[in-house]
């Protein structure tokens, strides 16, 4: 069984069973059953589209609350680059670092620093001769899960590097132990301030049997509202940001890819675009591209569902914040036998390759039975009105036909077919009734 821990949650009593999320789910993972939405955990990729479109605010992201963090521990904030694009008239990133310390964190390690380290090692990794091109970024967990679910033949194209959040967590912990020799590793908690629920899922699902890089994940919007009041102070910040342009540019689409200073790159954002690009790569249509950055959210991480500002406005704010920064503040020394291709073993990430999605979506374990079911689906689909209204609880008439054959829905769930039957019945009654003179 697929043990992925999702972080999109439904408040059943708020859900009216409308078709908004049903129609928008890119993997058709949602059905309306008994008057409310039900998410299929195997097909769900945690993209957050349903949270975005829910009118009732019944779909919620799952994350840890700030007040639930264990304040007896040494808490290190790992703010995502996207957090820096949320504030009005922010002159300097230092104010955010200081603000995080003022609201109770003991230390701050910017994820943007992890991103700059990530960028340097990606450049080196791309000098290797034995890699499968185009290389696809593994930084967006939605994309990784989508590839494992729907594009398994592209698994070998994934960049096997820890995500910036994890590099940041790893280095932050190491730095803290050096700064404070009195601390033991178990005294430290690294807290990622996340733009999206997908990162929550990733941390909760893949850390079970290995080194922990990120201990807690909190919502950027919750932190934002705390920061707003903390940052009003007149005194200039004592703490300093340690990130350059590259680190902050990761917050929006194209930042990661353009930082590689490589011409043949592609950056796509928004889940539908991501799926189109993956289809093209799988069909071998992108031969002149060597690096592909994909972000499930529109605009990149600034478009995450746990952000406050509109993604395109956040992008502009980040641009003005970046203007006077050095290109990068986190260079890594050239080491290893072959410095041009060297990536430390501790930053190599095998998870995209080892985690298995058990169910690839086959109708049945037996091929002959799957073929028989598919023929039945075709027949039933021909009977449906093919208007994809969603009233039956399935996103399309095709999906409805599949549900009927799987035994999860009945023909009578189709309101259009019922209406036709009702009309036919009325007509019959009319013609049977005695005609007026």
């Amino acid at each position: 069984m697929d043990s992925y821990k999702h972080s999109v949650f439904l408040e059943t009593e708020k859900c009216k069973g409308c078709t908004n999320c049903l129609k928008r789910c890119p993997t058709e993972a949602i059905r309306i059953r008994d008057g409310h939405a039900v998410i299929n955990p195997v097909d769900c990729i945690d993209c957050g589209e349903c949270i975005r479109v829910c009118e009732q605010k019944a779909k919620r992201a799952v994350y840890e609350k700030l007040e639930d963090l264990d304040s007896s521990k040494y808490l290190i904030a790992l703010p995502a680059p996207s957090l820096f694009g949320q504030f009005n008239a922010l002159a300097d990133a230092d104010y955010i670092i200081q603000g995080l310390l003022d609201i109770g964190f003991d230390d701050v390690y910017e994820v943007a620093r992890g991103a700059e380290i990530h960028t340097e090692y990606t450049r080196r990794y791309m000098n290797r001769k034995d890699i499968v091109l185009p290389l696809i970024s593994s930084a967006c967990p939605v994309v990784v899960r989508l590839i494992k679910n729907r594009f398994p033949t592209l698994t070998d194209n994934l960049l096997p590097l820890l995500a910036p959040m994890e590099i940041a967590g790893k280095y932050a912990r190491r730095e803290a132990l050096k700064k404070h020799p009195e601390l033991k590793p178990e005294d430290i908690r690294t807290v990622f301030i996340s733009p999206c629920p997908a990162k929550v899922s990733w941390v909760k699902s893949t850390m079970l049997d290995q080194e922990v890089y990120v201990d807690n994940v909190v919502s950027a919007s919750e932190v934002y509202f705390r920061l707003i009041s903390a940052m009003k102070r007149e005194a200039p910040p004592k703490a300093a940001s340690k990130t350059g342009m590259i680190g902050l540019s990761w917050a929006s689409s194209g930042g990661e890819a353009s930082s590689l200073l490589n011409e043949g790159y592609l950056a796509a954002d928004g889940i539908e675009n991501v799926i189109h690009v993956l289809d093209k790569i799988e069909n071998g249509q992108l031969s002149n591209v060597s690096f592909v950055e994909l972000n499930a959210c529109p605009g990149g991480c600034v478009g995450g569902t746990m952000m406050v500002e509109n993604p395109y406005i956040a992008r502009v704010k980040l641009q003005s914040l970046r203007r006077y920064l050095p290109v990068s503040m986190n260079r890594v020394p050239k080491t290893g036998d072959d410095p041009e291709t060297y990536v430390p073993e501790e930053l190599i990430d095998a998870r995209p390759f080892t985690y298995v999605v058990s169910d690839q979506g086959a109708l049945n374990m037996s091929r002959s039975e799957s073929i028989r079911m598919m023929m039945e689906i075709e027949n039933i689909y021909e009977m449906t009105p093919q208007i994809d209204c969603g009233a039956c609880g399935a996103p399309t008439c095709r999906a409805f036909a599949e549900d009927v054959v799987r035994g999860e829905a009945q023909m009578d769930d189709c309101l259009i077919l019922i209406r036709e039957r009702f009309k036919a019945m009325l007509n019959k009654q009319k013609s049977a009734a005695p005609q007026p003179e």
């Binding site: 729907r150 398994p152 033949t153 289809d279 093209k280 799988e282 069909n283 071998g284 249509q285 690839q360 979506g361 086959a362 109708l363 049945n364 374990m365 091929r367 002959s368 799957s370 073929i371 028989r372 598919m374 023929m375 039945e376 075709e378 599949e402």
Partner: protein, 143 residues
């Protein structure tokens, strides 16, 4: 349901629309996943079929694609009423293309369409009559 009835899918490939070329191969990918075929075989079918779709759009103002599914074999038949192929042997050479410049400017017409269809399928049969059209049959064995 009749015993001799076979599972098949039919697609119209619109000749006037470059952006929709490839839609059929994407749909087939989903269907093959639901039928439990391996991702590798699915990818081969999808690539070969995509090349066929593009060819029909470039050269023949569209056509039709039919996919016939058996437990041990998949058959893709691409049929058009285009200009036909005068010299099949030459057309099969890698890099040979009769695509006009405006098509090449879009990144197509690299002369890999037919060779890719042959490379990714287990069997390929071309029937073509100049002035009448082309029918290509691709067979894929299922292991």
């Amino acid at each position: 349901m009749e015993q001799n009835e076979k599972l098949s899918f039919h697609f119209d490939v619109d000749g006037n629309d470059f952006t929709s070329a490839g839609e059929a191969s994407v749909k087939v990918k989903k269907l093959m996943r639901q039928l439990g075929f391996s991702p590798e075989l699915t990818r081969r079918v999808s690539i070969a079929m995509y090349e066929g779709e593009i060819n029909m759009v470039i050269h023949a103002n569209g056509g039709v694609a039919d996919v016939y599914v058996d437990e041990d074999c998949l058959r893709v038949v691409l049929a058009d009423e285009g200009p036909g192929i005068a010299d099949i042997e030459t057309a099969m050479q890698e890099g040979f293309s009769t695509a006009p410049d405006n098509i090449r400017a879009l990144g197509f017409g690299a002369g890999m369409g037919l060779p890719n269809m042959k490379n990714y399928s287990d069997e390929m049969k071309i029937d073509s009559i100049v002035g009448q059209g082309t029918t290509i049959e691709l067979k894929f064995k299922v292991n």
